[in-house]
Amino acid sequence: MTEIVNVQGLQKSFGKFRALSDVSFTVNTGEVVGFIGPNGAGKSTTIRILLGIINREAGDAEIFGKDTWKDSLEIHKRISYVPGDVTLWGNLTGGEIIDLFLKLHGGGDKQKRDSLIKRFELDPKKKAKGYSKGNRQKVGLIAALSVNSDLYIFDEPTSGLDPLMESVFQEEVEKIKESGKAILLSSHILSEVERLADKVVIVRQGEIVEAGTLDELRHLTRSTVTIEAEGDVAEMASVNGVFNFKQKDNQATFSANNQYLNDILMEASKLGVKKFESAPPTLEDLFMRHYEG
């Protein structure tokens, strides 16, 4: 497993506004890293630095061990990128634009292109001006997925796609991942990240607030517990490690700090449990904590 992307202590300001104050993470081969955070957190800014579109003020950003600003050309030969809002030249057709991107990238696979056009159900003969948001996005995706790269960078790639197309995209990403390529995926669709990502990096106000595998992150947080008992479930409210307690008749739902799970079970067993369900936190739960906090 080699390191493909390595970002350390990245900083960037726009005028007085500090968009990134400390961003560090890595992406390895065969790994999908989910890059998530609230609007304006600095995800796209980080990605633009990785692509050499803008320059950082401090910190290191390397891809394939090369500097993203100075050696961008070398890097670009081996990466693919899809922005969250693909804009196209209105007077060219989708097919022409895809061909152009493949050519400018080099190393495009014509057969792959044709099969992707079919899978994404794109009409390549239409002028881009007439494409809907989702169809524009497809043009960007097809162009990026038809070339053979070692690193794929996606910034909200599925915004505007319908659920069917979204799952086509996810299948394609899984294929890429299996062939050992690295993927950086920024997205607001948490189910997508949950399905695809091995590692999650959460950024907020230009800083990394959490990073690790999903399992690791889950461990640090709370599970959602639903309990039904013969005794008075209200007693559970005062147990250590119980939060957000809600009761309805003799049924209660609360979040439980994973560290205190044992204590909670002991207490509950005194009440004559009829039902005890514990759901691991979804990425959404995890995420909400950071969004709100």
């Binding site: 320059n55 050309l73 990466i79 809002d85 804009t87 196209l88 007439g130």
Partner: protein, 537 residues
């Protein structure tokens, strides 16, 4: 009917609130430009000034630029007559262009940006937006007319009467309304806002050039030109108010046509059909150069056609020149004593004007690179093996190419038409015209250099290059009429270059300006290769 325009008044008030700064600059800018030169003209008029100016402006080159005067003898040429003669056409044209740009930016452009979709989702009529925009533009032009009239009158100069002042103002105002009408129609027909802007400006330019031809050959024909209904009102002399009635009717018809067209089209669509395109790209598209050519093709072809038309229009005047010379004893003396033929003198002036216009296209091509950057069109391309060096120099190369071809077509069509119009009496051959045209090549390169500099260091200033071009144009335009101080006229780049064939070619100047221009491009490149790309922020 009512439903279609529902709430237009709300939008109108909103526009006034949103645009008030622009409106003030607009009215002050055009208003003062139109009205405030009265004291300067009083200076010119002193002594033999009026007489001299009358003769100067009888020159066909001058008529083709500033228009005719109804005054038939130099002794009747008053201050007012001169002011209207020299200023009205130009001010009207100016008002027209600004109004056309404003109308497109408030109608078609908002549609393309998706703003009208949001507006229309409220309880607002389908055509309320266009109606509010046109009413606003008319309102501004009415204010402008009164402002000009008031300011001109306030100087209390002899022969600048109240009636003439307000007619002058009204003529400028109506020119604006005509421009707005043309733009509103184009906004419906064309498939995009930039095509609408381009075609509206193209039509205005064409009207201007056509009238140059008819003014010299037969002024009555200029009366059929919408532009004529504004600049042929002859304030301070004939005070021909009735022409404004035609202007009013024309504006009204344009607006009615535009609303009929808008009523039956879909939002975001135009009337020109969209053809089905290619499934795969042609080989010629598959490079940065191929892409840039494709993107700029529309603009390039329309401008190049405009250059040819311009050359033909000015070229056709040459046939009338000798006849013209026969009719004026003073002119005849003037030319025979200077040793320069009237054709050569005309060529020198017109060539400078034409090559000034040719510079617009290369500037547009360089600025286009930033427009694309700003609209995030290039984001996916940055992530390929395409370098900034390629993007920058391909744009510059294309701009230089467009400049070379533009000069060839403008000078060539001028020469070709002129020679055939002059017949046997021709004193110049095509090569003379081409040499006179390429003599100005350094000025075109200089504008490309300025645009490149802006692109590299402060891309938002790219538009300012047009301003400087407009400024140099005005300096050159008035340089022939007013006696500007040397240093002042030298602020326009073209003033450094000798006017061929009247003057001799100056090798050091040619080389110096070329080298400076290339240096500007190189400095621009340094900035471009270093700066952050800007994407829609």
């Amino acid at each position: 009917m009512k439903e279609k325009f529902a709430q237009w008044d709300t939008l109108f008030v909103l526009y006034l609130k949103r645009d008030w700064k622009k409106i003030i600059v607009w009215i002050l800018g055009i208003g003062l430009f139109s009205a405030a030169f009265v004291p300067a003209f009083e200076e010119i008029a002193k002594g033999q000034g009026l007489l001299g100016m009358y003769e100067t402006l009888q020159n066909p080159a001058m008529i083709s630029m500033v228009g005719p005067t109804p005054v038939e003898t130099a002794s009747d040429y008053t201050l007012g007559a001169m002011y209207a003669h020299e200023m009205l056409l130009f001010c009207g044209l100016f008002a027209m262009i600004i109004a056309a740009l404003h109308v497109v930016s408030h109608t078609r452009k908002e549609e393309d940006l998706g703003l009208s979709e949001l507006v229309r989702s409220f309880q607002i009529g389908r055509q309320a937006n266009s109606f509010a925009a046109i009413v606003e533009t008319i309102f501004i032009n009415v204010l402008l007319a009164f402002f000009i009239g008031g300011v001109m009158m306030s100087f209390g100069a002899d022969t600048i009467s109240a009636e003439g002042s307000f007619l002058f103002g009204a003529s400028v105002g109506f020119a604006g309304i005509i421009g707005a009408g043309i733009a509103l129609v184009m906004a419906q027909i064309m498939p995009t806002s930039s095509a609408a802007t381009g075609s509206a400006l193209g039509i205005i330019g064409l009207l201007y050039i056509v009238r140059a031809g008819t003014d010299v050959s037969n002024v009555d024909l200029s009366m059929f030109n919408p532009l004529g209904w504004a600049y042929l009102t002859y304030p301070f002399t004939e005070n021909n108010w009735t022409l404004l009635f035609f202007a009013f009717i024309f504006g009204l018809i344009m607006v009615v046509i535009a609303f009929a067209l808008e009523g039956s089209r879909d939002m975001g669509a135009g009337y020109l059909p969209e053809r089905e395109g290619r499934r795969y790209a042609k080989k010629s598209l598959l490079s940065v150069r191929g892409l840039f050519i494709k993107i700029n093709k529309g603009v390039m072809i329309s401008w190049l056609i405009a250059f040819i038309l311009m050359g033909v229009a000015y070229g056709s005047i040459y046939g009338d020149m000798q006849t013209f010379l026969e009719s004026s004893e003073v002119m005849k003396q003037m030319f025979s004593s200077s040793g320069v033929s009237i054709e050569e003198s005309f060529t020198s002036t017109i060539m400078m004007v034409m090559i000034g216009l040719v510079s617009i296209l290369p500037i547009a091509i360089v600025n286009k690179l930033f427009t694309q950057e700003d609209r995030s069109l290039l984001s996916q391309i940055y992530a390929t093996k395409v370098t900034r060096t390629q993007l920058f120099w391909t744009s510059i190369g294309l701009a230089v190419f467009a400049g070379l071809v533009g000069i060839l077509l403008a000078a060539g069509s001028l020469g070709g038409t002129a020679i055939s119009a002059m017949g046997d009496s021709s004193t110049m051959d095509t090569l003379d015209f081409l040499v006179a045209g390429y003599n100005f090549l350094p000025s075109v390169l200089f504008f490309i250099g300025l645009a490149a500099l802006a692109l590299g260091w402060s891309p938002k200033l790219g538009k300012v290059v047009y301003l400087y071009l407009g400024y140099s144009f005005v300096i050159n335009y008035f340089g022939g009429i007013l006696d500007l101080p040397e240093w002042f006229s030298k602020t326009a780049i073209q003033s450094w270059i000798p006017r061929m064939p009247m003057e001799n070619f100056d090798t050091p100047i040619f080389i110096t300006i070329t080298v400076i221009s290339i240096a500007l491009m190189a400095i621009g490149y340094l900035g471009y290769s270093r700066r952050d790309m800007i994407e829609g922020t």
